[in-house]
């Protein structure tokens, strides 16, 4: 009955981080880090196999009292929404550590591996926490290692980028903390029980004003992380200046924390307000899609281009989430995974070429296809996945999102489609300039193709892109019950909004709170 899989999943990386610090030489450091990142990967795959696809609630649940005075419990659970994100996290951390061991990180490897593994603890903890306090703790914990990763091993204006990253996110998340405290306080007043447990907070009765403010508190924290236009400005700096592994985790996993937060917390806690805010969020999402694509098109720097493409892709995810129907939300979760795989892979590829040429300027390349065909072929594959070519993973996600958004708000889709076209345009245009044509720079003549280690890192990603493009059913099946459960909450709010029955009125009435219980 009792299982400790989730605890193990979260804290084994932390244990590994301490173990890595005790390593003497560089070789054993990388080996230890790789081994310790494989353990959570193995656990997450085991959980994937054991996961019951018919169950919509939390599985592998662990719950103990932590700070009973505050009703804070150590409560972990895994459901269809977090399942694949957990696997994505463990996979990308393992791959980036294996990749970074190949020469990408030139100095202070022990600390690098330490921070990567602490980061993994933070990310997995945030994904698995069911208690709002615990979620907040892990949400903040993941900032610090990422801050160090950017600031120590980054490039260019790394300190500026690290500061911008952490201050933006902290500003957002501190508002969420106030919202959490206020929500719990209201729940305490209403039920007499003090609890930070997410399910127990669903039933808090809020006046529309309260709900709007609280939703805003959560939404700001998550929207900064996504990032939604217009609070995305930290992203291009952080992504560009971060070391390769940092960019992979930032884009691959950390941005999903924002979208995950909407699906897990902001929308289920305040469904009525989420419905009310749908047009706003869909509009911002569409602006993000087109803005990101347009800005990506004019980037001279390959990494910055990929960074801006994230703004565009995450816009799609937000569009799907706020469609608030099964197609849209499942498509959004699917697209989160796709973006993790393909953008993660793109950052790895950009890192590989940067390691060889120490530049990312598109104009410095040209004709690479002739010199490094394996690299070019893999790049092509990943790029097509990112564009959303049918048969590859990106297509499934975008299609579902479009379908969902179409059912909700047709106009949004009309604009979003332009994003798809522009996406193909900037990617293919960049690819053409980097790979095709004659070799114009002499240095490019002597480039070496990918090493076995680098190919080994890319293969799992490519295999997953293909699998998810051809056979999405097993994934969607496992998401569906949890997504349905979440949308049921939204629908009941919708019903209440459309036909205000007495009970619903009472729930919205501020005076109702003060009635004797």
């Amino acid at each position: 009955m009792e299982s400790y899989w989730l605890t193990g999943l979260i804290f084994l990386p932390l244990l590994g981080a301490i173990f890595v610090l005790m390593q003497g030489d560089e070789r054993s450091t990388w080996r230890a880090a790789a081994v310790f990142s494989m353990i959570p990967l193995a656990i997450s795959i085991y959980l994937l196999v054991r996961f019951d696809p018919r169950e919509g609630g939390y599985q592998f649940v662990e719950q103990y009292a932590w700070i009973p005075q505050f009703g804070i419990s150590y409560h972990l659970g895994l459901d269809g929404i977090s399942l694949f994100l957990v696997v994505l996290t463990t996979l990308l951390i393992a791959l980036s550590l294996v990749y970074s061991g190949g020469g990408d990180i030139g100095y202070r490897p022990r600390e690098f591996c330490f921070f990567m593994l602490v980061l993994e603890t933070g990310l997995l903890g945030a994904l698995l926490a069911v208690d709002l306090f615990m979620f907040y703790v892990f949400w903040e914990v993941m900032l610090i290692p990422m801050y160090f990763l950017i600031g120590i091993w980054g490039h260019g204006r790394k300190i500026y980028a690290a500061f911008k990253f952490i201050l933006f996110t902290m500003l957002g998340s501190i508002m969420m903390l106030v919202a959490i405290l206020y929500l719990v306080h209201l729940a305490h007043l209403q039920s007499g029980a003090l609890s930070f447990d997410l399910p127990s907070l669903y039933s808090v009765r809020l006046t529309p004003t309260e709900a709007r403010w609280l939703f805003a508190g959560f939404a700001i924290a998550f929207a900064v992380k996504v990032p939604m236009w217009p609070i995305h400005t930290w992203l291009p700096d952080a992504h560009t200046e971060a070391p390769t592994a940092g960019s992979v985790i930032l884009a691959g996993v950390m941005l999903k924390m924002g979208t995950y937060g909407f699906v897990r917390f902001a929308i289920p806690l305040f469904p009525a307000i989420a419905l009310e805010a749908t047009p706003l969020f869909m509009a911002l999402a569409v602006v993000g899609i087109i803005y990101g694509a347009l800005v990506a098109m004019v980037q001279p720097d390959l990494k910055r281009l990929v960074a801006y493409s994230s703004v565009s892709h995450l816009g799609f995810v937000m569009l799907g989430i706020f469609a608030l129907n099964p197609q849209g939300v499942e498509g959004a979760i699917y697209q989160m995974l796709n973006h993790g795989l393909s953008t993660g892979a793109l950052f790895l590829l950009v890192g590989m070429i940067y390691l060889r040429r120490h530049t990312r300027e598109i104009s410095e390349f040209g004709g690479l296809w002739h010199r490094i065909p394996i690299f070019a072929a893999i790049f092509m594959f990943v790029m097509l996945s990112s564009i959303g070519l049918p048969g590859l993973n990106g297509f499934i996600g975008e299609f579902l999102i479009m379908l969902g958004a179409y059912l909700k708000l047709r106009l949004a889709v009309v604009f979003a489609v332009f994003g798809v076209i522009l996406g193909a345009l900037y990617m293919l245009y960049a690819y053409e300039r980097v790979m095709f044509g004659p070799i114009t720079k002499a240095v490019n003549e002597t480039l070496t193709d990918l090493s076995w280690r680098e190919i080994g890192v890319m293969v799992p990603l490519i295999a997953l892109m293909l699998f998810m493009g051809l056979y999405p059913r097993p994934l969607l099946n496992r998401m569906e019950p949890s997504v349905t459960a979440m949308l049921t909450r939204v629908q009941s709010a919708q019903v209440r909004l459309e036909t205000p029955r007495p009970a619903a009125l009472a729930a919205l009435n501020p005076a109702a709170r003060t009635l004797p219980r």
């Binding site: 106030v178 405290l181 306080h185």
Partner: protein
Amino acid sequence: MTPLNLAAINIAWLPLCPLIVVAAAAMIVLLAGVRVRDDESQGLGALTLALLAVAFVFALGLLGQSGVAFAGAIAVDNFAAFFELVILMSAALVVLMSIDYLPAHGLSAAEYYALLLFSTFGMMLMATGADLIVIFIGFEVMSISVYVLAGFLRRNLKSNEAALKYFLMGAFSTAFLLYGIALVYGATGTIKLGPIRAALSSPMAANPLLLSGLGLMLVGFGFKVAAVPFHMWTPDAYEGAPTPVTAFMAVGVKLGAFAGFIRIFMVHLGPVSADWSAVLWVVAALTMTVGNLVALVQVNIKRMLAYSAIAHAGYILVAMTAAGSQAGGAILYYLLGYAFTNLGAFAAVIALERRGVESDLISDYRGLAARHPALAAAMTLFLLSLTGVPPLAGFLGKFYLFSAALNAGLVWLVIIAVLNSVMSAYYYLAVIVAMYMREGGAEAGALGARPALVAALAVAAIATVLIGIYPEPYMTGALHAFNSAFGAALPRTALMLR
């Protein structure tokens, strides 16, 4: 004239034991120091530690008792015991930091330790007093000893400036406090806190005498806890004083001052909280904002920590504004975490100082991580705790403070507080940036040769983590301690509100 029959006076000695031990310790150390040369003073430090440990054991014995002694002048409750324990811990950590500092700077140890113990005595007296005059005496004993300590680097101009400024401003604030006490006495007819509370509990019209008394006492305590606009002395005093003394000022003095502040205002002036909480609202908002804003531009780490200490006093004032039992528990818990975190940070500053080399600029911390990874990691831990990053003590403390304030309906004050908290991240992280992401900087003295300092760092680091990830016993203890302070005044209805 009949001789005074001493045996007939029934004196409850036991509650006084920690105080007596500390006062006696001061004199023992002073006498023992006669034969000790300044460069061989480690033994005196060890003696001081041992005597503090004895006092600590006596203070532990006071836990769980309740009542008043000396005809209501001394409170015997968990509140006093809690503060005595934390103050003694802080004093012990400061002694650990001083053991190698004093010979390195050629300071005479006996006077130093004696003054340290006397001011510890004053702080403990403030926490124990149930009588405005006793609290005032504690206030003075604490302050005068610290004035001297601040100027202990006799040949250092900055140290002299620190002492003079601190003394002048401190004397000023003392006058305010005393005048306030006099007016409150005039309004209520008593200086005992219990009867004052009883007098105020009966509905009384707005009494100008009482209100002016409250205002003046607020100013007096505002000076000692460095609340804006009474904070002007802090940065200069903190920068000039010997660093262990700065640590003691930032932690010990604050503990003592808040002990008195809380006991008088939150506990015994609770019935008229409407009269002072609005003022405190403004003071809290100002203190946080000014402290953090000015800290942003500091280049000297001691000054930065001084302004950060001002900001932290502001966070505590947020919860004082909220009043109530939960807020009281929150403040006590916060002070516990704050004591260890701040002492740890100052210990790290001391580690980087060597005789003749002033290494207290933030730029001196550049590249520290590469040269002294353990020291840099410890400093990072303390700075992150001060920022309020989970799961460290500083985060849980802020969390507790702010949730108490929210529960009392102070939504806007909490929003100001959390925005300040984000602002503070900037200057704390700037030190981390210097340590980890930049090159150059000053060479730190070897840590291996200073085991006492390492011990102080280790204790502070472990406590900072432990109080954060396993807060339950400390939170319960803090809440009980606060509630017990009501016991002396209102035996029955004290444990209310929760």
